[in-house]
Symmetry: C2
Subunit: 371 residues, 2 copies
Amino acid sequence: MHDRSPSATHLTDTERLDRLRLIRSDNVGPRTFRSLVSHFGDPRTALAHLPDLVRRGGAAGGRICTVEEAGAELAACKKLGVSLLAPGEAQYPPRLATLDDAPPVLAVRGACEALTRPMIAIVGSRNASGAGLKFAGALARDLGDAGFVVISGLARGIDQAAHRATVESGTVAVLAGGHDKIYPPEHEDLLATLLGQGAAISEMPLGHAPRARDFPRRNRLISGASLGVVIVEAAHRSGSLITARMAAEQGREVFAVPGSPLDPRAAGTNDLIKQGATLVTEAGDVINAVQPIMERPIASDVREGDDEPFDFDIDPSEHTRIVALLGPTPISVDDLVRMSGLSPTIVRSVLLELELAGRLERHGGGMVSMI
Amino acid sequence: MHDRSPSATHLTDTERLDRLRLIRSDNVGPRTFRSLVSHFGDPRTALAHLPDLVRRGGAAGGRICTVEEAGAELAACKKLGVSLLAPGEAQYPPRLATLDDAPPVLAVRGACEALTRPMIAIVGSRNASGAGLKFAGALARDLGDAGFVVISGLARGIDQAAHRATVESGTVAVLAGGHDKIYPPEHEDLLATLLGQGAAISEMPLGHAPRARDFPRRNRLISGASLGVVIVEAAHRSGSLITARMAAEQGREVFAVPGSPLDPRAAGTNDLIKQGATLVTEAGDVINAVQPIMERPIASDVREGDDEPFDFDIDPSEHTRIVALLGPTPISVDDLVRMSGLSPTIVRSVLLELELAGRLERHGGGMVSMI
């Protein structure tokens, strides 16, 4: 069972190095990467213009990843059996590639064939009940037997139970840090075992130890790579509910396992069902819901050249006008356009320069603020 | 909080006696009662024609309730504090009155004001878990505090917990037997207590000990009198699921309390949610769903004179033709019309005669068979 036919894209060593340099440079995230490549045509040209953009954004620092640094990462990855893939390459998870903020470089390790099979995410409480762990394991096993790859976050509790039950059928662990910084450390053995039929993926460089804010960011990869996400146990305001919200925003199916109203670990999942998530008591509930999605071709949004345009021929007075309107309180880009009287293209371009200079923070819903 | 304004209908003693005689006669159920009154105009005229219809249906017996028998029931009811009400009378539960098969005579006892307040049914396993009992009690209490009357079946388990929690706020017990044949007998004390602020109702005559088949029949009154039914715990193929199905057929809301997929007592309720029942974890879930229904006037279908017509001027050869087509295997009335070449009115009339004679059994979906 494959989630789509293998892609034709293949990068040269130089292309891969350029790509890695651009995404590893300061203040360049997946969306900025995409904007730059969209404007300049390819990573190499974007890198050539980057120092100028950073300077005009008003930065003191803003380090650009050197050829040597990127080369060293590639060599270290090779030593650890880690490949660095671009969206559209053969083993890049095809659904993950469709995200607006798909990792421009994904570090993958293990039996990478697993990454192109249809995936179902199973996540839930770290502090799960015995019944929750048992159910997660049984559900994962049944989904694995039905040909799905189970993807999760290698955390304690539900994640662990889901991975462990699918070591033989294939499971994917999404890491919040680099491939050499496994969290929690006691799951290194589980990870080593699951790499036999499955894989581990990360968008972070080697040596990156995961911080608290890296986990929600990582969760978007769990939901994004999958057809749908099953939340097994989740209290009110728990991390798994963030994954559920991301899944919904990404257009993925959201599944939730019900529980007694008297069980606080079921409060989050019962709420999800009230809000429209599909109730799951057995693997068939998941399979029936994703079957029609698997039959449709994956909406490919991989091209990095069709974004809104930029214009970096900016008058210093325009730059000043926009900076004057910005402060620590988030404001919408639409308001900035209206208040500045400048074109959306100019506003967007100034904001990108400020972002690359490390002076702009982007919030949800098109809101921005100065740092 | 009242479920509607008091009705204007009031029966004379003679009308009440005639009504009681007709429904207590052999082979006259709520639907037959309705058909006869619809055709003959009132119960007294129907009673006058009944012996002739029974004879033509080919019965050996087919007892008609006498004036003395009905008078004796009325007197015994009075002694026990039981009133006999017709649909449309002031304290007849207004939503119950809208059913096609509403009891033509309802025996009520207790604080009958409770019967015109908005009701929510709470039902579930007799063999409930501690958590199920606790939740049923808490939900019932909260609904009672919000002004609703909780209606249930006085059974062990969930029913008992729901009644007990609403003794003060008002609760209604629907009996499967007569008011003097309480089942289970150990709930006689609970019943006596709940009559203070609540009521008990039954469509059965005094002295009728409930048989197994009376319970599903009774369940239609629980759902029919309510705005909606909450199923708290129910295994696969349990009696509570029959109540849920009846509620749906009657156009009532169906609510279900979720539970772990590993808990067999939640299998039925989880299935109901999959099929579209509203998931309930707190009273607010029920109240929000029934609020808009309470704001609409109750669709009154009480009139007993607008049914499809009969024609008892039947040729013996027509009678014979229909009887010849009938056997122990159920057949649809539509098929009988087509195969006999007779008019629907004639077929319907012959079937009513056979029914009154105790020779016809009606099944669901317009199917009939000979006994």
